[in-house]
Amino acid sequence: MTELLRIEDLRVHFQARKGLIGTIPVKALDGVSLTLEKGKTLAVVGESGSGKTTLGRAALRLVKPTGGRIFFDGEDVTNLPDSKLKKFRRRAQGVFQDPYSSLDAFMSVSQILEEPLAIHSIGNARERTDMIHHALQDVRLSPVEEMAAKYPHMLSGGLRQRVGLARALILRPDFILADEPVSMIDASSRTEILYLMRDLQDTYGIGFLYITHDIATARHFSDRIAVMYAGRIVEIGPAEQIVDEPLHPYTVALIKAVPEPDPANRLRQRPVIPGEPPSPTEPPTGCRFHPRCPSAIEGTCEVIDPPLIEVRPGHHVACHLWPEGVH
């Protein structure tokens, strides 16, 4: 397996205003490391404020990292100036959460799909039309001619998101960041988009960074899962292992919080973690999950920040409960 994207100790801090003149750092990402292999999908699962979206934006170099390194296909792109990013931009694409605001409402589908080709000066008018039609076929938007002439507001959320996918696809990228691509789409059509993404991955060998709050879709549509909490990765490993045998108490809670359609549900209370996620301006000391953790070890968890250690092959967790690994 060859590595496509490697992120090392990535930090993204923003400045928030506080008081009359003071500012305070918001640590959206605070030391995240991960790798994505070519043609594979890594899901990043977390709740709002966990930093998963910032991670995705940093991976596409939409925000400048405060610290750490980003390697794309072996090349360090962490601090490349905008002028030298064009090659990277051609190979790394994004599909964004909001199918309503991520497409230009004043452009037709064919104009939207022509944008990337125009930006990178690819093909002549004829070739571009062919490429556009091909991309539309790829995302199963048919009839192609008819769809190309439509404007975004004529399409449903699901169809718009396919246009977004086609736009990302038309440059034949090696990497696509999919930031909550289905969270604003009806449950019944979510699966369809996710299957489509998987088919495209199989056809073109694209590596996906799939950012989601929904661990259930992550289980079915990714190879590995990283669970984020308060700007950190708390657990990362093979998708099925993470869901079937979660190690971090937060992962456990997250999985238990997801309702499955079961008539017995209503007769029992759901095990939940109390409280709300911490403010990113003042994260708790030690393990950031400790104030909400049911298994917090007093004297340890609030003091020592647990490192991410490999407890099983390819399965890392940052928790004091697993000091030596699982055997």
Partner: protein, 479 residues
């Protein structure tokens, strides 16, 4: 839906207010074209503010059409002009060129004045003389006025030219020699004894009437009059090119006249292109600058943003009217200066709104998506951000237009208009300052005001028609 501007136009034409506004606008555009084609560009200095150009017009008279509503017939303003004599007689006393003008006098009152003028006189030898007399319907004939063209000055050699630029013009109604002649006439024909000095002012009543038996006044005498002008010269090469007799009306043209006799209709028509130019130039410039600054400020951020933001904050917080008045006064009453000031104080408000819109758009995912495609910041600003704001910008521009027109009109009304370019505001100002309002010369103050309001309203209506484009909440609900 293709492009923001086209959406805006479609939406605009689908609303009633929009349709009315656009129709008004097109009519105004046509009138403006007509005004520009039919008038010299230095209309203001050459005609409008040149009293000589309006000397033959009656002063302060209402529009001709108002006569319809009157019980008695008022005098139509009539100008009789001839460049060729009706008849040339060779007499013992010289060559007599006779110019006759027939007047069908059916009015219930005397003319407001009568005047006589000649132009382009050429003579060789002794100067020609002219005389004006009237043949009345009652068969009586009255010799009014006699005039001898001034003799050559020392050193002048024939041909002697006179009255080339400005015609020789005599206001018969106020001319003492005419009064003497008329007094004589009254004495001879009606045995009415009025001294010539008392008759001045009543000359036209006497000429076009018969003395009242009871009072001291005159009754208008209706019927065919003939004005006979005889020019007598001694040389057959002598010539008079323009002979003019004006029967001063008590009503005039489409819009009446002001206190200097100016044809208000012409001034009002000329006001159309001026008002449109003021409004559109100001609005286009202010919106273009405002939009550019707003987009740059919002998208670039950082120091540029703070600089533009503070600058426009300061400018937009300045109370406009006092400053406008002050600057127009100090920098001189030039239209372009007024337009420049309006632009300078107009764009910041626009820039502030555009900036906040850009910030909103920038926080949306479209910009992020475009960056990740590799688009340059200029491409994003031009292709993605600007089109989204285009309808709003367009609407703002339309909204700005009446504001500029009203501001200029206000300034003109305070006497700070550009005298070389007449505007509706200036006409109103003159009407107000000469007291036209208090004596009820409505035709002087109403039409320019109505035109200002109509013009402003045109743009307000168009802007209202675009409300739906600008405020998405009002767009037709899509299910």
């Amino acid at each position: 839906m293709r492009g923001g501007l086209q959406t805006a136009l479609t939406e605009l034409l689908s609303s009633t207010t929009g349709k009315v506004g656009v129709t008004f606008f097109l009519v105004m555009l046509l009138i403006s074209l007509y005004a520009i084609i039919t008038n010299p560009l230095d209309f203001g200095t050459r005609l409008w503010n040149n009293p000589a150009a309006w000397a033959d017009n009656p002063k302060n008279v209402p529009p001709a059409w108002t006569g319809i509503f009157e019980g008695s017939r008022r005098v139509n303003h009539t100008v009789f002009e001839a460049s060729e004599p009706t008849e040339v007689r060779n007499t013992t006393r010289g060559i007599e060129s006779v110019y006759t003008f027939n007047v069908d006098y059916t009015f219930d009152e005397a003319p407001t004045f009568t005047s006589f003028s000649i132009q382009n006189v050429t003579y060789h030898g002794s100067p020609p003389s002219t005389s004006v007399s009237v043949m009345r319907p009652d068969g009586r004939s009255l010799s009014l006025y006699r005039f001898v063209v001034p003799a050559p000055r020392n050193g002048e050699t024939p041909p002697i030219l006179r009255y080339q630029q400005t015609p020789f013009r005599v206001h018969l109604s106020g001319e003492p020699s005419v009064a003497v002649n008329v007094a004589q006439f009254l004495q001879d024909e009606f045995q009415v004894n009025i001294s010539s000095s008392r008759l001045v002012g009543d000359i036209d009543e006497a000429v076009f009437g018969i003395p009242d038996t009871q009072g001291g006044g005159f009754q208008p005498l209706k019927g065919e009059y003939q004005i006979v002008v005889v020019a007598r010269s001694q040389n057959e090469r002598d010539s008079i090119e323009g002979v003019k007799f004006v029967l001063g009306g008590s009503q005039f043209g489409m819009m009446g006249t002001d206190s200097t006799g100016r044809d208000l209709a012409r001034g009002l028509i000329f006001g159309f292109p001026v008002a449109l130019a003021i409004g559109l130039i100001t609005a286009v410039m202010a919106t273009v600058i405002g939009t550019t600054m707003g987009i740059i400020s919002g998208y670039t951020g950082g120091k540029t943003d703070i600089l533009i933001q503070r600058f426009s904050d300061v400018l937009s917080n300045i109370p406009l009217l006092p400053i406008l008045l002050f600057l127009a006064f100090i920098l001189g009453q030039k239209l372009w200066i007024v337009i420049a000031i309006l632009i300078v104080f107009g764009w910041p408000g626009m820039a502030i709104v555009i900036r906040s819109m850009v910030l909103q758009i920038r926080s949306g995912q479209l910009v992020e998506a475009s960056i990740s495609l590799g688009a340059s910041r200029w491409r994003i600003m031009l292709r993605h951000i600007f089109p989204q704001m285009a309808p709003f910008v367009f609407a703002q521009m339309i909204f700005f237009t009446p504001a500029a027109i009203l501001a200029e009109a206000g300034l003109s009304f305070l006497g700070l208009g550009d005298p070389s370019i007449p505007t509706w505001g200036q006409i109103l100002d003159q009407g107000f300052r000469t007291g036209a309002v208090y004596v009820g010369y409505w035709w002087w103050v109403m039409p320019p005001g109505i035109l200002i309001v109509l013009t402003a309203l045109t743009f307000v209506l168009i802007a209202l028609g675009m409300e739906r484009v600008v405020d998405p909440r009002l767009r037709t609900v899509r299910q």
